[in-house]
Every structure is written in C-alpha cells, then in structure tokens.
Amino acid sequence: MTAAGNPAFNAAARPLGGGRRLPLTWLGVVPFFIYVGIFLLLPTAIILAGSLIGPDGSISLSNFEGINKPYMYKSFTNSIEISTISAVLGAIFGALLAYAVATGDPKGFLRRSVMSAAGVVAQFGGVTLTFAFVATIGTEGFVYLWLQQHGIEMYPNGVWFFDLPGLTLIYLYFQIPLMVLVFIPALDGIRPQWREATESLGGNAWHYWRYVAGPLLFPSFLGCTLLLFANAFSAYATAAALLTQGGVIAPLQVQALLTSETGSSAPGLAKALALAMVAVVLVVMSLYALLQRRTSQWLR
C-alpha cells in the first residue's frame, strides 16, 4: 500500500512542499488511518447517517420516533434495570473482594492468582458462561439437583433463572472480577499511615471509614460502578444465549431488527437504536472518566 501510494503522493507534494520530507513522513500512518477509516469510522458514520434517514429517503428524525414505542421503551428500561442492579451488586461484592485482596501481601501468591483469574473471568461471557450457570442452577443443574436431593426446592415460585433475574445473576460473574480489577488501584492508594493518624487522634474504625477512607474511595467506587453499568449495558452474547424470548433487552432488540424481515424494511430503526445505545454508554463513560480523574489526584 505504501509503495503504491508513494510516487503519486511524492510527485504531488514536491512542487508544493519545496522538497521537504513531510509528506513521506505522513505516509507511514496512512495504512492505519485507511484501515480504521473503513472498519471503525465508516461504520460509525453509517450508524449516524442511517439513523437520520427516514423510510422515504429524506432526512428526518422519524427513526427515533420508532424507538418511542412501548416495547422498545420496555427493552431499554429492562436493560437499564439489569445493568443498574448488576452494577451495584457487582460493585459492592467486587469492592469487598478487592479489599480482601488489597489487605494481603502485595507480592503474594494469593494476590497474583486472584488478579490473573479476575483478568480471565472478567472477559468471560456469552454461550460458555450461560452453559456454566445452566449446568449449575438450571433445572438439570448440579446444585439444583443436589439441593433437591436434600429436600430443598430452589424455585418454589417458578423458575426465575431463564428470565431477567437469572441474567442479572450471570452478569455478576463478570461484573465482580471487573470491579476487582478497576477498584484495586484505589484501595492500594490508601496509606496505612492514615489509619494510624486517625487512631492517634482518638478516632475509631467507624470514624476512619466515615471521615477518611470512605470519602476518599467514594468517587472511585462510583466511577467503577458506572463502568460496570456500561459493561452490562453493552453485553449481548450472554443474554442471547440465555433468553429464548427475543427483544427483552436493548441489545436483543437490535439483534431482532438486524435479523428479521422488518429489519430490512426499516434499516434506519436498527441504526437509531444502536445510536441510542452508544449515547447511553458515551454519557456513562464520560462520567466514569471524570470520576477517575478526580481519584487519580491522590492516587500516586
């Protein structure tokens, strides 16, 4: 690519640039920009432009009116609901686990293996993860059958596992490790001297957590919770594997629009929906970046 573009570029630039080597220098990044141009920026532009083009080909906001239907609205609120619940629970349990890790030996075997495992498990999702839970607490699952043998029925009021509560539980499997990974730097920033200082001033554990560690950790905790929210909100594969009913959450709604016949007759709608998802994630991630910056002020 570089070789092919070289002479033309050079010939065009010579008379203008007066023999400077600047154009040649720029050639080095051309392949990268062409590549991301085609496979990242162009698709983003397609989403953006396509969402603004109505069924009749004119520029309009009619696609966004398509979102304003009860079932669309419901899928978004469902998405936001399970993302919020799994983010808050994941943040709490993840912070506890991170605390247990951070109070141990910083170079110890335990910490290293927990962090490596968290790195793997936070990436874990989709079909495999769903299988793992089906094999555990599905109606043929190991734990379910074991409890049944001991006279305990896990689902006395109907099986909730193949519905949104089950999905939320499965999401915790990757949310908690993600929380451990992103929250540990903040916990590591807490100096033991601060606790000693609190104690020498007559404070007890409650004072320490309420007035020293708590306020310091809170922005980071909040930021990480937002990150977990965005993570759950974007997740698709797990839901696709678990939920048999289509369109329950926003990513599944996008899938339905992409694969069904209605998708091809209303291609703008899928793009509008995708754009709405990007907008939600963008807002959440910007807040996260803001809170992270605040945390990093005292982190090092």
Binding site: A118, Q123, S234, T238, V278, Y288
Partner: protein, 284 residues
Amino acid sequence: MSRRRIRLQALRIAIFALAAAFFLVPIGAMFEFSTRGIGVASPRTLSAWAAIPSTPELATAITVSLELALITSLLMLGLLLPTMVWVRLRLPRLNRIVEFICLMPLTVPAIALVVGIKPLYIWISLNFTDSILTLSFAYLILVLPYAYRSLDAGLAAIDLKTLTEAARSLGAGWGTVMLRVVVPNMPAAILNASLLSASLVLGEYTFANLLNYENLQVAIQYVSLVSAGTSIAVAVASLLFAFVLLMILSFAGSRRRRGGRVVPAETPIAPVATVPPSLLAEGS
C-alpha cells in the same frame, strides 16, 4: 490491635471462600454436566468429550476460530506496531489521535458497531469473498484497545529513540529496525497483545452470529441444540484453553525483565486496569 487483625483475617477468609464458591462451582458443574451418562443412573462417561472430533461442525469451527485468532493477532501486530513506532518517532502530535481512535471501540458497544459494519460485510461478500476469515478485519477493531494498551506499555519501557537512531546510523533500514531492534526489545508486550487478541477472538460471538458466520462460539450454540453434553464439553475445553493462554501470558510477563524496567507481574490485566476491558469483551 491484634483483635482487629484476627477479625480482618476472618473476614478475608470468609470473602475468599464465598468468592471461590461462586466462581469455581459453575465451572466444576459444567465439567460434571459434560461427563454425565444418558440415563438417570448411568455411570460417568467421557463420551461427550470423545464426540468432539467426530462432530464435523465443531472440528471446522475450532480450526476456523484458531485461524481467525492467528490472523487477527498478526494483522494487529503488522498494522498497529509500526504505526505506533512511527508516530512516536516522527509524528508525536498524532499520538493523542491514534490513542483516541484505538480506545474508541470501548464506547461503541459491539452490538451497535455490528449494525454499522453489516452493510460493509454484505458488500465484501458480494464483491470479493464470503470467507469467514474476513471476520479478522472486524476483530482487529475489537482488539484495538487492549492491543494498544499493552503495546503502549511495552514501548514506554524501552528507549525507542536511541535504539532506532543507533540502528539507523549503523545503516539499518526501517524493516530491520522493526524486526531486529524493536520487536526483540519488547517480547512481553507483544506476546501480551497477541494473546489478549487471540483470547478475545476465541470467545467472540456477537459479530460472527449477526454477520451470519459460524465461528467456535456460534457452533457451540448450534451443537447445544442437538447434543448438550458435547457442546458443554467444547465450552469447557475452550475455556481451559483460554486459561492456559492467559497463564502463559502472566508467566511470561513476570519472567521477562528487560531494558532496565521490570514488567509488572500483573501484566495480563495491566491494560485492563486502566481501561474498561469487557465492554467489548463480553460483547464476545
């Protein structure tokens, strides 16, 4: 003081025990499920595992996914590494733009990106080829943030300018500089970036499914409709494989200490710690 230490230790042990149960039981249960016999009281059997090679759909999908992982890693190295080196040396003002672009996929959920990329793939399959290996192009975008982070850390740890100037003044061309100076000086970062890319590709589902290609994860789901045991066996196997990949990574990351700076022991998650990882990972 010591009472507090004991209480803290008790709390830690309780937390670790609960976490171990929550995270290990499902994986164990998956293995247990894959060794079940057909009948209620039938003995343990590995027949589901033995059926993997004789399920042609799976065998193909495994090969294809491994090829995709390899191609994506090579493409990533071939495109990203020279660009990053070049930008650092010659165009430092583009650094922020390249970083921004590389981290961009994190704010575009995979399920949204696939909407925009689908017309492109329809066009490619109509005009060029409908081979599943073209998925590598899209996967390269998905792995950009992770690959960028680890290569960035690797490049920060070496004195790139001095190294390249020395090589150039001794008459080395840019190809020699890349292959014989830059690459050998940051093996851990390159391995890190490649293995992260490979494990992401092996777990990818969203793109393949919605662009109508059959990679490993899609095949696992299809096969599960026919034979749950076999597909769960493959799922366990692919999971263990990813574990092995990432263990190699953390091992290599902690062993390789070069160029004066110690590569942190937690290299596998180092890029993850500063950047939301599974935004797209779970999209996998």
